[in-house]
Subunit: 258 residues, 2 copies
C-alpha cells in the first residue's frame, strides 16, 4: 500500500544534501534527521532545517518514509547494507550509479536525480530543475514523483542507462564548459583584463541557446574554417601547448559538425 | 581639432553592423548611410535606422564623422583603399585584425571592438558589453571613447595585441562553450531527452561564475580524477571516438589545473 512521503532522513550533508534539505524543508516536509560521518556538516545543515543529526549510522531514525542518500558515488555501496532494516523508501541521487545497488537489500528503493550543479553556499531555485526518478516498483515511483513535483515542475522517469547518459551530457554542458571559462579567463589575463570582462559574453552565449539550437547559434573562426585566424590564434598560444591541443580538437570538431 | 561624432556611416549590414546600428540609432546618433555589397541586407538595416543605403563604395557619403567597417576579417583590406578619401574617423570592429591595416591610408583611424556574440535577429543590450577602443592618436581615441560610452558603461583602451588575446579568450568562452552545448545535446538525445532539459544547468553554470572564480566553481569526476566514473563515461561514448577524445583532453586539463 502506497504511503505519502512526509518524514525524510538525509544521508549526507554535502552540496546536494544541503540544497535538497533546504528546499524540502521550505516545501513543508519534515526532515527528521541528517547523517554525516563528521559532526560539523551534519549539525550545520540540521540546524537550518529543524532536524536532528547523527554521525552514527546505527542511530538512524528507522521510521522515516524516505531516506535520501546524497553521498559521493564510492560511499554509496558502504551505506546500502546499513540501511537494510528500514521500511521506508531508500534512494540515491547519483547520476552514474545504477539503481540495482539496492537490489535484494531492501523492499522499496529508487533514484532521485536532479540535473543541476550544486554548491553549499549558493541557494538554487528547484522550480525549473529537471528531476529524474527511477524506482523498483510503480507505487514507489509514484511516491517519489509526488515528492519531486513538490520541488520542481519538471519531473521525469529515467532508467539507469538513461540517467548515466544524462549525467555524461551534464559533464559536457557544465564541468567542461566551466573549465573553458577557466581557460578563457587565463587568456584574458594575458591581455591584461580580468575574467569578469567575459561575463556578458558568457551570459549571452548561455541565453542564446534558449532561443536557437546550439548548432544554429555556433559562430567563430572554426565555423567558416578561417585558417588565417586559426593559425594566428594557435601562435598566440605557443607558450601553452595544452591550450593549443584543445583549440585544435574543438575547432576540428566544430568544423565537422557544421 | 577634435570633433564630436554625430553622423555615422555603417560599412556592412551583418550581425554586428545590425546590432550596432540599432543601438547607435536608439542613442540618438544619425546613421546617414548603410553600405553592403548586396541590396537586401543594406536596405533592411537602413529602413530600421532611418538611413540611406548603397551597394556602391563610390557612393559612400564623404561627410560623416565616423565610418564603422563591420565586415568579415578578409573583406577589410579591400575596403581600406576605397575609403582613403574620407575625412572622418574610420574604424573596424574585428578582434583579430591589427589597427595598422589603416596606416598610411587615412588620417584618423582606430578600432571599436565590442566583446560579444551577435545575431541579426536577437537584440542585445549594449549597456554591459565591454567595448575596446584603439586609435592612432589621442584625439581620435577620445572621440571613439565618448561615442562608446553612449552605448556601454564599460569602455576600455586595448592595443592590437591585447585585442587579439581578448578575441582568442572569447573563442574559448563562447564558440567552444557553444560547441560543448551542441555535444551535450547530442548525448542527452541519446538518453531520449531534448537539449532543453540542459538549460537550467547551462544557466546555473554561467551564473555561478558571477560569484565564484571558475576554478573554484569546478565540479565533476575530473576534479577528483574519479577513474571509475571517467572510464564508464568513456565507454558510453564508444560509438563517438571524437567525443571520447574531447572528454579525455578536457578531463586531463581540468585535473592538471586544479
Amino acid at each position: 500500500m502506497r504511503k505519502k512521503i512526509e518524514k525524510i532522513v538525509l544521508i549526507g550533508a554535502g552540496n546536494l544534501a544541503t540544497q535538497l534539505g533546504l528546499q524540502l524543508f521550505k516545501k513543508g516536509f519534515c526532515i527528521s534527521q541528517v547523517y554525516s560521518r563528521t559532526e560539523y556538516p551534519a549539525k550545520t545543515l540540521a540546524t537550518k532545517i529543524n532536524a536532528g543529526y547523527t554521525v552514527s549510522l546505527s542511530e538512524i531514525d528507522p521510521e522515516a518514509d524516505l531516506y535520501i542518500c546524497a553521498l559521493k558515488d564510492d560511499a554509496l555501496p558502504g551505506i546500502v547494507d546499513l540501511l537494510s532494516h528500514v521500511k521506508g523508501i531508500v534512494v540515491h541521487t547519483a547520476g552514474s550509479v545504477e539503481m540495482s545497488i539496492f537490489e535484494g537489500k531492501m523492499l522499496h528503493y529508487g533514484v532521485f536525480y536532479p540535473l543541476q550543479t550544486f554548491s553549499k553556499n549558493r541557494n538554487v531555485d528547484f522550480t525549473h530543475i529537471p528531476v529524474f526518478i527511477e524506482a523498483n516498483n510503480p507505487d514507489t515511483a509514484q511516491c517519489l514523483k509526488e515528492a519531486a513535483f513538490c520541488l520542481s515542475e519538471k519531473v521525469y522517469e529515467a532508467n539507469s542507462a538513461q540517467r548515466k547518459m544524462l549525467h555524461l551530457s551534464a559533464v559536457f554542458a557544465c564541468n567542461f564548459v566551466n573549465h573553458l571559462y577557466t581557460l578563457s579567463g587565463e587568456i584574458a589575463k594575458e591581455a591584461g583584463f580580468d575574467f569578469k570582462i567575459l561575463l556578458p559574453l558568457i551570459d549571452e552565449t548561455a541565453q542564446k541557446v534558449h532561443h536557437l539550437k546550439p548548432l544554429e547559434a555556433q559562430t567563430g573562426p572554426a565555423v567558416r574554417y578561417d585558417k588565417t585566424v586559426m593559425e594566428k590564434h594557435l601562435s598566440l598560444l605557443s607558450s601553452r601547448p595544452e591550450y593549443q591541443q584543445i583549440y585544435r580538437l574543438l575547432s576540428d570538431s566544430i568544423h565537422k559538425t557544421i
